[in-house]
């Protein structure tokens, strides 16, 4: 709660609104004990005094009543009625909406038709009609205002309830034997509460205005009692001669509504979970690089990543997601990158072209040698001509790459022309179709006018590969491109990547957590564990005999099809948290071969022939 208020207070306008509101509410609550004159005692001799005249701080009205006193009492009344109306509308509206959304079908139909009916009338007309039917009076005005606001709550809450009711935890509750009514109360309601609060914060201000409107027309509070609306109504005839009698209640209404709305906006923003995660802060186009002008070691390979360390700074914690990582990729080579979830594969891949979200990401040190320049230190303009062009990416979820509202054809054309503005329209069309053919889409014409969501996962991924190929890249970084796909589709995508690589001499950095996939596609593989590379070498050799205990355990975990007797294998324990990496070997808590040395000393990388590993006591006689 305190934290929550802190977030709200960060927003200056919201804090201002909150304080304004707090002052007004406190004053109006204190009205009975403040040394005020009686609000309803008339004294026609003193009528229309201007402020500060005769001891009346705000002057008097047309009957000589003290305006300050009437204002505070009137404010109290207006606020009470407004909040009461909001509360009533929220209660009934939410109940109706929740019932409609949860039970659905006929119940939903009946309730929502009724709500639609209410909404068919213009707002204020409906309120007027209701008051006309019930007779004037503040209480009736309250009912009218509450009634006209019920549809707003009902509709919003119904929408949220429908989403909640289809969640798996509701089904789980059903299977636990809870009755529907209990599910509604116990499972759904707590999740609705924040929504209801938000909806109330947006409407209270309006309801106060509406009640004031009714009172202004003489349909709300009846004399001598006055709320802000009726004060304004009574002052109307003297607007020109004695403007202060109108200004006083008018300014108060303005302050109340403004205070509520500013504060309400702040509350809403603070409740938005995206804000808490910091994702509303727009990331920089390029990851922060603290390596200065590190000169990369010369390299004959296409790309050489050298001592790359990428961290995330979240609150007080530092997560070492990529820890002194070095590797090289040759022209035409397919390099596999394997590791468990959270081991830093994606962060490493994104760091290559400074795509790691920053903040919170920071590239602490290291360099990426591409054509004898350090990619990490390039100015943004130069980086842009490489990122997505010469080095392009394919991601696990194609929908993050494709724009949902443009057709496949348009997206390809746009991407082509963005990179080569000299291309004529017909040239671009034929070039895009060629690209689609190269990812084994036999009939590009059928796909041209189709939107991404209309395609199956496999087709979408092919389109993404085609997009990645647009600028004849030298390196494609594929981050688990087949993880979300079915096996038969996966087989085809792997096939496409494999033939592209042969035809175009493409280099591929292929990220996966599946040794089966890696062994089919890749020449060499690097194994990551807890942010570090623990082993590297030709896939064949590593499959035959891993050097690092982790690699060898991981290979044992791969299930083998058609061999039921092959027992399932698992590595006991869990990887360490990346914000609390141990001093010695990160795998030590799960390792069968660990010795005292592994716990105390940081492990050096050893190399032999074309392999390397990071372990004091490698297995299988590799050393």
């Amino acid at each position: 709660m305190i934290d929550f208020l802190k977030i709200v207070a960060k927003n200056r306008l919201a804090a201002f609104g909150g304080i304004l509101l707090l002052i007004i509410i406190t004053l109006s609550i204190l009205a009975p004990i403040l040394p005020l004159k009686e609000p309803n005692i008339t004294n026609t001799a003193d009528r229309f005094m201007v402020p500060f005249e005769g001891g009346h701080i705000l002057g008097t009205d047309h009957l000589g009543r003290d305006l300050l006193s009437r204002l505070l009492w009137g404010t109290q009344l207006s606020l009470a009625v407004g909040f009461a109306a909001a509360f009533i509308a929220a209660t009934f509206g939410s109940i109706l909406g929740a019932i409609a959304g949860f039970y659905g079908q006929k119940t939903d139909n009946i309730i929502m038709r009724f709500i639609d009916m209410l909404m068919a009338f213009p707002y204020i007309l409906l309120a007027l009609a209701i008051v006309a039917a019930l007779g004037p009076g503040l209480f009736n005005a309250l009912i009218a205002v509450a009634l006209v606001n019920i549809p707003f709550f009902a509709r919003n809450i119904r929408g949220v309830t429908v989403t909640l009711a289809n969640k798996e935890f509701i089904e789980a509750a059903r299977l636990s034997g809870m009755s529907n009514f209990r599910i509604l109360i116990v499972e759904i309601f707590p999740n609705l509460l924040p929504m209801i609060v938000i909806a109330m914060s947006t409407t209270v201000g309006w309801m106060i205005l509406e009640t004031a409107g009714l009172s202004f027309l003489g349909l709300g509070s009846q004399p001598p009692q006055a709320d802000l609306g009726s004060m304004l109504g009574e002052a109307r005839s003297a607007l020109i001669t004695n403007p202060h009698t109108s200004f006083v209640p008018g300014i108060m209404i303005f302050c109340i509504v403004m205070g509520i709305n500013l504060f309400g906006d702040g509350v809403r923003d603070a409740l938005d979970p995206r804000l808490k995660k910091g994702s509303l802060i727009r990331p920089l186009p390029q990851t922060i690089y603290e390596g200065g002008d590190t000169q990369p070691q010369p390299s004959t390979k296409l790309l050489s990543v050298q001592n790359l360390s990428t961290q995330f700074h979240v609150n007080q914690d530092i997560y070492q997601s990529s820890n002194d990582v070095s590797f090289e990729i040759q022209e035409g080579e397919c390099l596999g990158l394997i590791g468990e979830s959270g081991s830093g594969k994606s962060v490493t891949a994104l760091s290559i072209t400074s795509l790691v979200a920053s903040p919170p990401g920071v590239i602490k040190k290291g360099s990426v040698n591409y054509k004898n320049q350090n990619l990490l230190a390039l100015p943004y303009e130069e980086l842009r001509s490489i990122r997505g062009n010469k080095i392009s990416y394919i991601f696990q979820d194609p929908l993050t790459t494709l724009h949902p509202l443009h057709t496949i054809g348009d997206q390809l054309l746009e991407a082509l022309q963005a990179h080569d503005s000299e291309l004529s329209a017909s040239e671009s069309i034929s070039k895009s179709k060629e690209l689609l053919k190269s990812v084994q889409i036999p009939n590009p014409d059928n796909l041209w006018d189709v939107y991404p969501h209309q395609l199956s996962g496999g087709m979408r991924q092919r389109v993404c590969i085609a997009m990645a190929l647009i600028n004849d890249p030298e390196l494609i970084i594929a981050d688990e491109p087949t993880t979300a796909l079915d096996v038969t589709v996966q087989a085809q995508i792997l096939n496409i990547l494999n033939s592209l690589r042969k035809e175009r001499k493409l280099s591929i950095l292929f990220i996966s957590h599946d040794f089966g996939v890696i062994s089919q596609l890749c020449d060499r593989v690097i194994v990551m564990y807890a942010g570090s590379i623990v082993e590297e070498g030709p896939v064949k050799n590593i499959m035959q005999q891993a050097a690092h205990p982790y690699t060898s355990e991981l290979i044992k975990c791969v299930p083998q099809l058609g061999n039921k007797e092959h027992a399932l294998y698992s590595i006991p324990g869990n990887p360490p948290s990346l914000n609390q990496l141990p001093e010695g070997c990160a795998f030590a808590n799960r390792c069968k071969y660990k010795q005292d040395q592994c716990l105390k000393e940081s492990v050096p990388v050893s190399s032999k022939d074309n392999r390397s590993y990071k372990c004091f006591y490698p297995v299988g006689g590799v050393a």
Partner: protein, 316 residues
Amino acid sequence: MNALEAINLSKTYSATDGFFIKNKKNIRAVNDISFTLKENQTLGIVGESGCGKSTLARMLVGLLEPTSGTINLQDKNINQYQRQELGRVIQYVFQDPLSSLNPRKTIYQSLAAPLKYLHQHDHTQIKEKMLSIMSEVGLKEEFLDRYPHEFSGGQAQRIGIARALLADAKILILDEPVSALDVSIQSQVLNLLNDLKRKFHLSFIVISHDLAVVENISDEIAVMYFGDIVEHNSSQKIFQSPHHPYTELLVGSVPTLNKQFADIQTKHTELPDPANPPSGCSFYSRCNYRSDKCQNNKTPINSAQKTPFVSCFHPL
């Protein structure tokens, strides 16, 4: 006694269901399938996304009404069970362990629900039972006061399994029980399931797209394609010697440690349109063994629920 029996089960989502309101079509999801699950056995169901696996699972636990067909649980029709009675017989372990837990409830509250509402246990009984099951699935007592977002995928999956066990049902439907987990942890959960099955005399239906997982945990396996069961056989044999062309394709597509890119099918992989199903074999357009007969004749269905079964005119 059979734990579970499905007879000629079908589900067609009609035009009024969900968001297909505009186009008045019937969407075929599960098409006349039959099988039995024997007591203390595990039946695996494999198939690719969209083939009707989850629809089938949700019908079996009573979350979804079949369009036609019968489900018997322990030799009694599912419609004759009250909601709470049903919960004591069959339970469901959800595919996404996190979304099956209410984000605003502690683990204690989520786990207590089946004990409270299915078995009317009081507080001390609940605590006692809960702790014993939690230690069984490898969860610590201190987890009880935590909220779902504080758990890793593997832990959340164990919580889901614990909840199903607390209902004390003998039949569990497990929908993709390990697909959210890393390989190194997958086997921990699979091994746990195998142990629990022996210890508590459970019967499982395990649904997955991962052939190796299903092969490992199941006694029998049914392969689904486009709403049909196309092959049903023992888990020892089905992937070693597939008889249906689709099973063969599945097996051939699995990347294994020493396979090369040889005979992988590169023809289109799209499923037929479920609103407009083919009149003959649904695998016809992708099949390498097809004949004219396959195009227009319905392939056999397993009404007699026998194994081995192949729904093909030219089995391999």
